[in-house]
Amino acid sequence: MRKNLTLSLILVLLISLIFSVNLFAQEKGGTLRYAMIDTPPSLDQQVVTSDLATIIAQHIFEGLYTFNSQYAPVPMLAEGSMVKEDGRLVTINLRQEVTFHNGKEMTSEDVVASLKRWGEFGVRGPVLFNYIEAVEANGSYAVDLHFSEPFSAWQSMLAFINGGPVILPSEIMENADERPISPEDYIGTGPYEFTRWDTGRFIQLSRYEDYAARSDQADGYGGERIAYFDELRFIPVSEVGTRINGLRAGDYDYAESMQGDLYEDLKADDRVNVLVNQGAQFGEVFFNQKQGIMTNKKLRQAILAAVDMEPVMQAAHGHPDLWDLNGSIMPEKTIWYSEAAIEKYSRGDAELARKLAEEAGYNGERIRYMATTSYQTMYDSSVVIAQQLSEAGFNIDLQIYDWATLASRRNDPEVWDLFYTWHGFVPDPILYTFLSPTYPGWWDTAKKRLLVNNFTQAMEQEERVEIWSELQEEIYDHVPILKTGDNYTYDIVVPEVKGFGETSLIWPKFWNIWFE
């Protein structure tokens, strides 16, 4: 009995010790210094899709919804929602006592103004607002979305913060247009508030002491958000060697976008921890379907048959941990993963390509392929693809531009046949740019329109997954794009920063993260 009591006491003491160490470990304080590759153009999330902007702005601004660790939409500023009239009316209830960084309480008036500005001027807004007839306040803490026809992806659209519908005070949103708002208007509801933009030096955020955190458990971007750091400082450091040396020298705590060929060295270095980002990106070659030689579907199929993606990924991303040969347009760990038609992916069959090209009536005409040197991985991939196409008998004219020039030229269907770009991770396929008929490439066939329409109107998730599979099959048959494969960026962080685990999400976030 006495022995049991002693053991129990020791156990209680041990548990208390563990708890006290844990509490001590998660104390608030410190400035997290983040070395990023460049300065973002603006932090206005509604009209800018730069990842650099999102990495910073997600700490300032919040949307009605966000994504959990499974990339399913979950409420953030919303309390919940009700879908009525067969999906034509959605009522979103708002959380109460949420305040903006200027102290004002968020109400339905702010939400309506923010959604309207995003719907009219936001980069991704029109995708959702093509289906919305009206947005109205329903009392102070609820908003009604009136749909012209059911649109199943509305939650995902409201949850995707990059170019997405973040909520700001109505007095700012009512006066905003397509131009990014100015820094003095960076007023959100997030755990950090914007405090300073020292041009060329840093962007600084400070903990918002009156932050109204959710009470549900943190999961992905969802749930409770606790700001442990006093300040977050985002510093532009364009040179990768400087980011690494700066972190090793103790001048930075987190450095983003490391090179693939440094992966092994950095993993072996005990002064840094390596974090692979979960959000898979992929390279894509667009075909000009409006004008020129690539309007020939058979020829596009020939090009698809010619390319083996393994050397492409190897050259561009290096270490195998950083890429997957995945023919499914959506990554493997998502509900959207599909094996439909992926046997046509990465065949590298020059014989078949020649046969298909002959059937297409191809006689060695020049194929203008635009690529960029602004991003090393894009350039490396483009060169290997061009080489393979040349070996398969295509007359490739590889034209190299800086990104700004390429982004401008691709809008002119007269000057190109193929161009290379990349697509960031999206949690719902409706967000893919190549589905837009106005995006360069101009994929706009009756079959595609029908499938996209069915996809957006299906309200059941299983049905949506099925239709997405059909769309993927159509992608491999019609060949509007060529997917290279999934790749993962990786960052490094000093070992004293805790809370990440092995990986980070699409964009690294710094709530629920602390200094040991």
Binding site: V47, E178, G200, R201, V237, T242, W403, A404, N411, T438
Partner: protein
């Protein structure tokens, strides 16, 4: 001299006008669209077009030019497309770093380049001269990028004596200790430029040393130090001074590699980033300011000849 100075100052106006037309034309001949860069890869052509209209980029080029030049001559260089703030304030925010780097690098260049060049010339063809020339050759041929990263690895990562990168403002914080951020960049920049000044000083000195009046000075029994300083160095320095003027201008605006390696918010990297972003007002504004500086520093260099050599007049 005053008439000369006034005449030279007047030449700034046509120089700026011609430079502005060239800059403006080249900027707008360059393909690429600032609106597309700002909105990102996912923007549709309609959205890009709307933003272009909002920014006034769809107006005829000559109207854009006249608007810009009218503002430029009264000190308003327009608004940065990327930063959404006045170009003058963007340049001002970068000027501190560039001016301090140029200033401290020049001090290093002068204190290394001129004495070593003089000693090398005086001790011509001795081991000391060969050592100096070897050093100059090495300093000139090491790539700035490599030197910068290696200085960083030695002094920041391994020894931990100096910060690796960045530069917090001295003016805003009032903290002179922030100047330590500039030690490695200035050393990196001084190395190749000192080499140039060493070689130039040495060759100018050697040229003058073979002149008859130097032999006369020695024959008169003057002390060797007096011959070297008064008769050789003073006559040889004019070509070095002109090189220093150009070096200073280059350091103010053309230190892109060093600014990139040390992540410094200077004018050089601002120009390169602005070209990539097609931020026309910033590119035009910086070049406008640099042209003014160029003319002014050239004028100062020319005026300094008169002080160094009384035979030079400005009538």
């Amino acid at each position: 001299m005053w008439v000369y100075t006034f005449r030279r100052l007047l030449t700034i106006i046509p120089t700026l006008l011609v430079a502005s037309i060239i800059i403006f034309s080249f900027m707008h001949l360059m393909p690429g669209d600032p609106a597309a860069v700002m909105l990102g890869t996912n923007a549709t052509p309609e959205q890009v077009e709307r933003l272009r209209t909002q920014m006034g980029l769809n107006r005829p080029i000559y109207i854009q030019f006249l608007t810009w030049i009218r503002g430029a001559f009264v000190g308003d260089l327009g608004e940065s497309i990327f930063f959404q703030s006045p170009v003058m304030s963007v340049i001002r925010s970068r000027a501190e770093t560039s001016i301090l780097i140029a200033f401290f690098s020049m001090i290093l260049i002068l204190t290394i380049g001129v004495p070593v060049g003089v000693i090398s010339a005086v001790k011509n063809n001795t081991p000391l001269d060969q050592f100096s020339m070897g050093f100059a050759m090495l300093a000139a041929s090491i790539p700035t990028f490599w030197l910068g990263l290696n200085l960083m690895i030695i002094f920041s990562v391994n020894l931990g004596w100096l910060p690796s990168s960045g530069f917090p403002s001295v003016i805003e914080s009032g903290n002179l200790m922030n100047l330590k951020y500039l030690i490695l960049p200035c050393l990196t920049l001084a190395a190749p430029n000192s080499a140039l000044i060493i070689r130039l000083t040495r060759s100018s000195m050697l040229d003058v040393m073979s002149e008859e009046y130097v032999k006369t000075a020695r024959a008169k029994g003057l002390k060797e130090s007096e011959v070297v300083i008064k008769h050789i160095f003073r006559n040889a320095i004019i070509s070095v001074v002109s090189a220093l003027g150009f070096t200073f201008i280059a350091l103010l605006s053309g230190t892109v590699v060093t600014e990139t390696v040390f992540s410094l918010p200077g004018v050089g990297s601002l120009v390169v980033q602005s070209v990539l972003r097609r931020d026309y007002p910033v590119i035009q504004g910086v070049i406008f300011v640099v042209v003014i500086l160029y003319v002014l520093i050239n004028l100062l260099t020319d005026l300094s000849y008169g002080f160094l050599d009384p035979r030079i007049t400005y009538d």
